[in-house]
Subunit: 387 residues, 4 copies
Amino acid sequence: MMGMSWKRLYRILQPEASGGAARAFRLVHHAMVILGIAIMLADTVAPWRQEHSRILDAGFQLVCAFFIAEYFARLGAAASAPSAHRRGWRARLGWMISGSGLFDLIGALPGVLDIAFSPKYASLYGFVWAFKPVRYSAGLASLGRVISRARDALLSVLLAFGIVLLAAASLAYLLERNAQPEAFGSIPRALWWAIVTLTTTGYGDVTPITPGGRVLAGIVMIAGILVFALWAGILASGYAEELRRREFLRTWDLVAKVPFFKNVGASVIADVARLLRARDYPARAVIMRRGTNGDCMYFIASGEVEVRLGPGTVRLGPGEFFGEIALLTGGPRNATIVATQPCTLLTLDIVDFRHLLAQQPELARVVSEEAERRLAADQFVPATVWP
Amino acid sequence: MMGMSWKRLYRILQPEASGGAARAFRLVHHAMVILGIAIMLADTVAPWRQEHSRILDAGFQLVCAFFIAEYFARLGAAASAPSAHRRGWRARLGWMISGSGLFDLIGALPGVLDIAFSPKYASLYGFVWAFKPVRYSAGLASLGRVISRARDALLSVLLAFGIVLLAAASLAYLLERNAQPEAFGSIPRALWWAIVTLTTTGYGDVTPITPGGRVLAGIVMIAGILVFALWAGILASGYAEELRRREFLRTWDLVAKVPFFKNVGASVIADVARLLRARDYPARAVIMRRGTNGDCMYFIASGEVEVRLGPGTVRLGPGEFFGEIALLTGGPRNATIVATQPCTLLTLDIVDFRHLLAQQPELARVVSEEAERRLAADQFVPATVWP
Amino acid sequence: MMGMSWKRLYRILQPEASGGAARAFRLVHHAMVILGIAIMLADTVAPWRQEHSRILDAGFQLVCAFFIAEYFARLGAAASAPSAHRRGWRARLGWMISGSGLFDLIGALPGVLDIAFSPKYASLYGFVWAFKPVRYSAGLASLGRVISRARDALLSVLLAFGIVLLAAASLAYLLERNAQPEAFGSIPRALWWAIVTLTTTGYGDVTPITPGGRVLAGIVMIAGILVFALWAGILASGYAEELRRREFLRTWDLVAKVPFFKNVGASVIADVARLLRARDYPARAVIMRRGTNGDCMYFIASGEVEVRLGPGTVRLGPGEFFGEIALLTGGPRNATIVATQPCTLLTLDIVDFRHLLAQQPELARVVSEEAERRLAADQFVPATVWP
Amino acid sequence: MMGMSWKRLYRILQPEASGGAARAFRLVHHAMVILGIAIMLADTVAPWRQEHSRILDAGFQLVCAFFIAEYFARLGAAASAPSAHRRGWRARLGWMISGSGLFDLIGALPGVLDIAFSPKYASLYGFVWAFKPVRYSAGLASLGRVISRARDALLSVLLAFGIVLLAAASLAYLLERNAQPEAFGSIPRALWWAIVTLTTTGYGDVTPITPGGRVLAGIVMIAGILVFALWAGILASGYAEELRRREFLRTWDLVAKVPFFKNVGASVIADVARLLRARDYPARAVIMRRGTNGDCMYFIASGEVEVRLGPGTVRLGPGEFFGEIALLTGGPRNATIVATQPCTLLTLDIVDFRHLLAQQPELARVVSEEAERRLAADQFVPATVWP
């Protein structure tokens, strides 16, 4: 850690950090997770274990060392977190008992077990590393938020699930215990049948054989479908909301950077942001291809694109727009456009394009004039609209 | 019951009652439900039963006594219900034959069986207690309302389910009865296969073996997916509506208590209430943490919070708001805010914050001025907006 | 059929017909369906068949006779249908080859088989009667419309399902045929495994045992979940739309009959109709109960209700409203209201009540004045609002 | 290929091409797909293979030849694609390495294998032809777009699925390996149980038998339902949006062709287009039937219909409308209307009809006047509204 301040280390360890060092760290981190899990899997297969004992142990100790080092690095950097109120070791102690600290402690645990006992024993607990990537996935965070917002409703379904489960097991015990004393001899045993049936898993290791038990099983299966359907319904509502929210937040931040939208009044900017969708393109990606049908237009939020029109090419940068001609004329794309560097574009779907232009005559005029000029000049001159 | 009026008893027994006595009653009630179910489960496991016979019987009789006592308490208090038209024993008789009365009678039944026969026999029926918590769960009531509103559609799917079931069983009987006389020897037997297949449970105890029977099974399975999907679709629609409704009702009542919203015209108050979400925080909960990203602002409907800004702290009470600075500046939170007592806050999401401020210039002015004042003073002075 | 015109018979046979004769016909029809299916089920159980042979045959012949008679009745009445362009036997011939005619012909078929062969043989085909109630269920018609509108999308999923099925069976055949020549010895056999797995039914009679086969099975199962999810998503969208549509149509017709809504301008009547929900109550049903919380108000579209307020009672008829006081005061219901005859009420939810009143000041004034008058008089005087 | 330019061939090969040659090509293409798959299936069934060896081989070689020919036809025509930037063989080379080129190369592969090895060996790979129809299904393209837009969310669920899978397998290995060393002897083996359980397939070939393993299984099953529900929720949101988008695009193009909508201002045309639904009718299809209830009105976008009103008939062409009388009077349809040639109609649902007329008084006047004129004249005179 010499030559590197805690502050810099803190920045590198943040999940959303940019820069070479942070990217390298994430790469090594994910590689270690995959390696650790692969070793854990291999370790339990007896022939592999016997043959490659040395390599497996060495690899396991490497992964363990990495996660212990990560723990101490995060512990040291905790004092430099902007959210820390206290300084020095008191801030570090605060991090140790926080959710994030305990999460990384669990990740370091197989290493501790390794030192205390033996790699063979410790590797059984390597599956905890499977949870390590959770911190880096924005999609999982989104899903987590959906589930956490719908928590009450999901738990209510779970409570109903539990009540039905218990009632089903009790009734099955009453109906089947004489016919099948082995499988339905006590309610805890009947519970196994009930959960296998209520989730419509249906292993088939235990099935009712009396007429009454079979009628009960039919009702339990239908109740199981209802539980499925309720959860699907609850999460469908929640997810739709989360999706809208996430899209809007991303777009809103970008819209402010596009000069084109400056002449849209403050009161409708929220509506405009709702219509746009942000999309990222890597360098050299083909954004649109000549001759294909056009179904959206693009505003450049950042990066640069190259317009290929036969002999020469034209370059467009942030604040410029393209792709409007095909939407206005209804014809195919008249140019191929390629990203020359990583780009963030705001796309406006043809459906929303028509809505927006109908409601914002000023925007319609700017877009139409530019399209006419481009078509008239039979060449593609970059257009930036400064209001 | 000496020294306690029927009226007070009635209030204590209401599911949503507040106050120490009501909370204590609910605690004992839920404990009794859990104890009763645990005893019922243990009672059916032969070794446990033999070893702990005495404790199980004593515990069972305690639970029985509690639910019998609850029945008589509710019966006595029924005459004090505000909905009662008749007085005295006539009101009690009315309650006995009402849904609520029969529900509690069933809860008291194991106790009656216990007295009439023996604990061993009676405990089999202890599973009825699993339904007891239904009365206390607002979430289950919500789900019940969703299912009850979608009743017609769900029953239509069930009717279609029944028709497909019967047709599938009849055709399977025609196709498979010669190949498997044991499993498909009569339509009632084939019905067992049909329901196991249509719900996609698939125990595997009975499977078709003729080519015709297998093609039929494939169609039945796909029909099963369709039933799932239809129910999920129906409940998704219903649940989304119920959710909106419940949120709105809760928020509407709270908005009236926040002076900030007094200067919003009556015609848009409904739209404002739609944007807010009520959230409860226990005492000492951290509502927002310094340095994290801000995605909503808060209005205090009840309770008190403490703003921690380095050396000193500031307290905010009902009618005040906080968290708007991060939304306006786009920077991280500049203070940590903790609840000093149980709080109810109205949160305004960043997405809706921008919408609301764009459409309500008066609100925008108040919020911005307060934020500027707070930032300028470099300290957090409580702000209450009285129009 | 003497003394009864074809026209009258036609009206009686319509599914939505009212009047005693039509209701009696439907009752007999449904009883015959249930009887026919019960006999068919019993007929296949050997001991029941042997014991009650006579009764079963007699019952079966009765049901057959009824459905043959129904066929000829509908055939005769077809000439009186308002949609018939041609008269007499030409119209009847048209009906015979229409969907409805073929549907009833299939219903009469077991009867024809009974005459041609024997009841024992014919009863096997009694399951066709299970489809008879389809004509009478408005809910099934609704579901049918949802499925028919989403037909293209559902069929696309089915096509994708078929492609995945075939690819899965082919790959499983390649991977497993050497290990399990019995179960995976040809692609048609492997298809059986594929469909059981893709629908996540999982009988377990055929399972892959090679590592490659198991990885394939895992992918197929996940694809199966995706199919489920796609169908659920498609039907959720479709059902929500159908529900809105059906509710609106019903309410629209009733709103026109309530004088209260006359003073709502033509341009907003559609919005008002969207907020109301029609509900039917049988005679003697308790619509609201004193002391409970109020969450909606009611407009009487048809029928009559009785307001019970202590000593005397007041009656309200079509065009009057009630239940608004609890919504305005926030208190509990101050009266119990019971239907004296079958009623159709339009309910306005508390959420929509607030919206409507905020947007329609004229309606708000009328409702508030009436509520004040009722509260001031401490008695419930019927209020009809004629604009 | 003599006498046929590459340009014409290119047009014929496009999936959405119209004209006899294109239709014939598609017919042959689909027939070849079905034939190829049927031969592949038959080839693996030993008795069929032995009996019809010659026919199967001949058929297989025909299908192979067709797909190889298709590959070269598309390769040749690639130079005439409007999207091609380069000419001649350079454009063809570009197509060969494009997605479309590789797709067709895989389709030609069984033919190459057939030439290199033997039909018996090659036919195993005939299942790749099952993917051939994908290019021609607009519905599959739609579904593909839904899945691709929801890609991030679906992959997040898959990541969560993978984490739960690994954790479940590891824990099951820890809990069950001593009781069932065969089934749970290593984590890779336990993974098989985990995926069968998490997808609720439940073959039943491996089931936990220890109490701890069974509790774990119950939790895994419930997690499986949650995965189902999450995917269903995600796809429900995505599909609803795609559906709206596709409908709108189709309708928008047609609305411009109906003169009736010319007098609707540009700013509301988008709202009108949103209310209409395009429907295609083949020649001789009955669009509406006299005496039935009317639930929508129609605008003719293209084609011609015949109005049957007793003795004579009237014909209506593009730009005219019908079906409005039943919506205005509330009575049954007063005419039967049949398509005389393939028609594209824009339907306006009764619900939207009322909305539209309430908001567009000009349209309401035109529709009402025409309806009155038609009713007054007691005959159906075609009405075209030129503003």
